[in-house]
Amino acid sequence: MSIDAMTEIRASFFVECEELMESLHDALAILDAGDGTDETVNVVFRAVHSIKGGAGAFGLDALVGFAHRLETVLDELRAGRLDPTPGAVRLFFQAADMLHDHIRAAQSQDAPPPTGEDVLRALEGLMQAAPQAEPEAVDFTPTGLSFDPMLPQWTTPPGTSEWTIRFRPHAGLYRSGNEALLILRALAGLGDTHTTCIVPPALALDPATAEQPQLGWIITLTGDVSEADIREIFDFVTDVCDLDISPADDAADGSATDGVAAAMASPDAIPFRLAPDSIVAAANHDDPPATSPGVGEAGLAPELQPPPAPSNAAAPAPAQPASPKAEPDAAAATIRVDLDRVDRLVNLVGELVINQAMLAQSVTEAGMAENTAVMNGLEEFMMLTRDIQDGVMMIRAQPVKPLFQRMARIVREASTGVAKQVRLRTEGDQTEVDKTVIERLSDPLTHMIRNSVDHGIETPARRLAAGKPAEGVITLSASHRAGRVLIEICDDGAGIDRARVRDIAVARGLIAADAQLTEAEVDNLLFLPGFSTASQVSALSGRGVGMDVVKRAITALGGRVAIASEPGVGTKFSISLPLTLAVLDGMVVRVADQTLVVPLSSIVETATLTPQAIRRIGRSAEVLHIRGDLVPLFDLGARLGFRQARAAGDRVVILTTQEDGGRAALIVDAIMEQRQVVIKGLSRNYGRVPGVAAATILGDGKVALILDPSDLTRSSPQTAIDAIPLAG
């Protein structure tokens, strides 16, 4: 196999791992909520098991090792020997996080993460506490834990244990590249084996059903082996075969006979039966080296296990699902597409939108009457274009669920770090947002969640004293609202201590000591650079980032952050984001005969400019006096170098918000319209232009610049503006 093909398979393994981790987290969340069923536990087990299987194929030993130990404990859970108590589920969550770390490390080919041993030990400790632990677990238990009482039950004297193994492969076993013969040989390597092949009475060697396994085996194994040793051989095939391992003396008891009776009663439902000519069949298939008709006829259960699912039992020839994905509850079919292709499509649709706008404009200019065929066709075209645009944007859209799941981990880790009990509740995690937005949201959201745990939620003692449950709840929700995505982080903590916030802001010189601030204004002080309320630097703070960084990151995405807090009840941060970064809501304005676009997200309000409202400061600086506020005033045309000084006459002023929370007023000649524009990069062919975020193409086919008001009104670029002569 070529290196490339191998790399590709490896890459798809890691993609699959992400999917498995997602279902693992989902199932753990269900268990955590106390709604777990056997199937939920199975999902958890299967996910870990599949990860282990894949990792084994790539020789990722550290990952296999970790997954194996986790799987061992999960097996106890699956067997019902371990209860999914809240404590246990919390440990499983931690183990899942570490499994994720291991996957990440394997993916980036880093050294495996050192963490995990304590959690694994704790998990295995649970297993020890359970009444029937597997002897294998003994290896991993730290000395000091009491496991002696369990030992006599399992440690049979060497050389005397005898096992009956009933093994019947499904089609999936062969399909996944495993081979029953090799498994039988491996069993023979453990000790003395007597193998009986079970052949259905009407064995038809028909090419049409050649891929459907018909044979099964009953193996009696004698030797110094534990059940775990045997299970290990079947490690990678447990979900693609019927397997039953029992001590030999159990096999001959009444239950097995009952099985025979059941088999006789409903022969159709039974995949296969014992056949006297099993030796011949086995010999013909060149399979097990040693066979014994005696064991086969000793009244062993004809079926190795009950049929796995009712639907399968109903079918005359039980077809086994090839993989867990083929199961009924599997997600809708998906394909993996190179992101470049999607982006190309997004670009082309952008062209289409522009083209359609141009066409519409020229048709209107041509004086076409309403309700003509051309106009009607054009209208339909516009609708189709919009649908295509929405559809293409949806391809890039992804549910926020993986992001939210990462946040659950942040909450777990952060709350442990500060000894608080915090639970993360998520809502609307199927809400879809552009992939790029999700990627760039991860850091600010992480910080806000940490912040909520660190500053929002109180310590258990204080919560109890306030009459709240000891466990705090952070609710993370996502929803679509008015063409934007609304993400809310809501905690049920103490709320913002406004008096303290005010004191700190005064102490840091951020506000004057006698400043009159509304509650909302006090809350917004949190977003100022250099503000941090943590009076002691915890493990969580001290990262050197404050809410100002969060706000800047959100603003860079075209988003807004709002804060609402009620003392004693909690604090809510709301983030409003555009659905995509490919289009932008903008206000189209005219300045000095140029058309420009101001992002709507940065506009606070628009107003008519009156000469009385302008106050001069010094030689050239001007401020706008609006409703008691003084806002720096800029003439957009002069600022951009399109004209020397502004001409007389009534103008419109646009108030914008800055990244740092401040405001600025821009004078424009006229506001044309408000519309969605397709963002076109400027820097690829030219480079960055100060004050300009990007460009777009308007309906007339002309390029219009999209302004970056924060950059434009920053105080520093003045020198750069003056130094360079104006464009012709």
Binding site: G681, V689, A727
Partner: protein, 154 residues
């Protein structure tokens, strides 16, 4: 024919165009297309020779007034002028010139290095000179006239 390659000079094809009274040319392999003049959207804070940006089928294309870049009076922007769209190293730009005049096949040994005019802005933009009949053709050093690429790939 093939054995002559080593002795006979290779020929390159050049697109010749007029800038005022002078004639320039550039390697035809870097020319993407030639299109009529459309008014450009001016870019703030840009050097004088950057005319602005135009829409080239959805791509935002910077346009350079080549005459200003070479220190001559600006090209009068009207319908007779053309924009030569060139692409160098995946970097696309439009060059505003007076008119396209010719496509020339010139043997490489006919190209002379430009005289050393130290300190002259435009000399760095000329890679070679050649005579076609009585016409002096200046071969443009394309990389030198295109706008400087940003250091950061933002």
């Amino acid at each position: 024919m093939t054995e002559n390659l080593s002795t006979a000079a290779q020929e390159i094809e050049l697109l010749a165009f007029r800038l005022g009274e002078q004639e320039y040319c550039l390697d035809i392999m870097s020319v993407r297309e030639i299109r009529g003049w459309t008014s450009a959207t001016p870019l703030p804070f840009s050097p004088a020779h950057v005319k602005g940006v135009i829409n080239l089928r959805g791509t935002v294309l910077p346009v350079i007034d080549l005459a200003v870049r070479l220190g001559m009076p600006p090209v009068r922007a009207d319908e007779r002028n053309v924009i030569i769209v060139v692409s160098v190293n995946g970097h696309t730009a439009g060059l505003l010139v007076d008119a396209v005049s010719d496509i020339l096949s010139i043997a490489t040994d006919q190209l002379q290095p430009p005289p050393d005019l130290a300190g002259d802005l435009e000399s760095s933009c000329i890679s070679a000179l050649t005579l076609v009949g009585q016409r002096l053709i200046r071969v443009l050093q394309l990389g030198a006239v295109l706008p400087a690429r940003p250091a950061e790939a933002a």
